[in-house]
């Protein structure tokens, strides 16, 4: 990926192609819509400022990798994490009401709670995979070898599925 010598990519086209997926990934990763929006936008700013060029897939991988690193930086200090959890508490399970809005809220809270039980790296691998990235791209973004992604992903999925199913039955 050449970031210095090539002309800048088309702003509107690139933005519309990549921003929605990036914003969803950041929201899933952080659980905080405001932080997610800030990080997704900062990633886009850096893409244009640094004049990154490449294939569509390459630009997408660069954006997700940049966002992953920005999220890591943001939450490196534990106090930030605690503040985030206080600001967006996980809703405790309540008897199932008929209203669909509440059902969606419960599903969201349970998914969030389950994601929070994973280690940060497991969470990143899981969310990048479910954003459609190859194992090689995930390895590059997360900083592990491509050959270990299958095992790490499998364990993350199992932990997620077990925790989610247990919460769903409660």
């Amino acid at each position: 990926m050449d970031e210095r010598t090539a002309p800048m990519v088309d702003f509107d086209e690139t933005f519309e192609e990549h921003y929605p997926g990036l914003a969803r990934y950041c929201r899933r990763l952080t659980g905080d819509p405001d932080v997610a929006e800030d990080i997704a936008q900062e990633s886009m700013v850096r893409l244009f400022e640094r004049k990154v060029i490449g294939t569509s897939g390459g630009i997408r991988a660069w954006l997700f990798k940049t966002a992953t690193h920005l999220v890591r930086d943001r939450y490196r200090v534990d106090t930030n994490r605690k503040r985030l959890l206080e600001k967006h508490p996980v809703t405790p399970s309540i008897p199932e009401p008929p209203d669909r809005t509440l059902e969606r809220g419960q599903a969201r809270a349970l998914a969030r709670e389950t994601l929070d039980t994973l280690a940060p790296r497991e969470r990143e691998i899981l969310l990048m995979r479910y954003s459609g990235f190859s194992y090689k791209e995930i390895a590059d973004a997360v900083g592990v070898s491509a050959t270990s992604i299958g095992t790490l992903l499998s364990r993350a999925e199992q932990r997620f599925a077990e925790s989610f199913s247990a919460g769903d039955l409660a």
């Binding site: 936008q41 389950t114 790296r121 194992y135 095992t151």
Partner: protein
């Protein structure tokens, strides 16, 4: 019969190219085929659960905000007032020591005074070198104490780099040196260097807070509590140093 490991099972499910060799086993093994099916079911569960976290994405609003953010950043960087304010913040943020190699100080008439601005914590530019001086005999550097929250070192090459060397030390400081003509800034746990080509040397405390080294937007090295990750071609590596470049 040796069955496939869990990583290979999900890689087969996800049609990853590295596992073609395992397909022959899968065709002959009912048990592993069932495990792939289980993994598919688990994948559907995870996918559905994650979808609950998605909300509406306002692309147009976000686009306007990104444009505004870029414009504001450009305007701010052009503002003399911002530079002055930034210098005050930087003074509080870290103690920066500019050091130059002994070779330069030994040169007759070396323009050391030109290397130091009135405020040493502001953006610093190294001065010109005497024509007699070999290109790499004259070096300038920035040195800061490694913050507890870690440091990001962002290097922008204004001319081709020969190599980037990372040296682990027992000191508590981060030190970056580069050929004269390079410019350094520091603030908010971040060192930025616009390097005038040649060789770059980075000294890092062997242990401690996270460190992230990026060259022209490419991550070369990340040290986190999980370990050190290298993401660029390495020419030489030992316990004492890493030399990035073509082997």
């Amino acid at each position: 019969m040796t069955h496939l490991d869990e990583g290979t099972i999900v890689a087969l499910r996800d049609r990853q190219p590295a596992v073609h060799a395992a397909r022959a086993h899968l065709e002959a093994c009912d048990r592993c085929r069932a495990r792939v099916e289980d993994a598919r079911g688990r994948s559907r569960l995870v996918e559905d659960a994650l979808r609950a976290l998605d909300g509406l994405v306002e692309t147009d609003e976000a686009k306007a905000r990104v444009r505004a953010r870029m414009d504001a950043r450009i305007a701010r960087q052009r503002s003399p007032a911002w530079h002055a304010l930034r210098a005050v913040d930087l003074r509080r943020a870290a103690v920066i020591l500019l050091v130059t190699a002994g070779a330069v100080s030994a040169l007759p008439g070396a323009p050391l005074h030109r290397w130091l601005t009135a405020d040493p914590t502001a953006t610093v530019s190294t001065g010109a070198v005497s024509d007699e001086a070999p290109q790499d005999a004259a070096r300038a550097a920035i040195m800061v104490a490694l913050p507890e929250s870690g440091v990001r070192i962002l290097i922008h090459a204004s001319a081709p780099l020969r190599n980037v060397e990372v040296v682990w030390t027992d000191d508590a400081d981060v030190r970056l040196d580069a050929p004269t003509g390079s410019r350094f800034t520091y603030g908010e746990g971040r060192i930025e260097a616009t390097v005038a080509g040649g060789a770059v040397r980075i000294e890092l405390p062997r242990e401690g807070a996270p460190v992230h080294v990026e060259v022209d937007g490419r991550v070369y090295l990340s040290r986190t509590p999980g370990g050190v990750v290298l993401d660029a071609p390495v020419a030489e590596r030992s316990e004492e140093r890493i030399l990035f470049g073509q082997p």
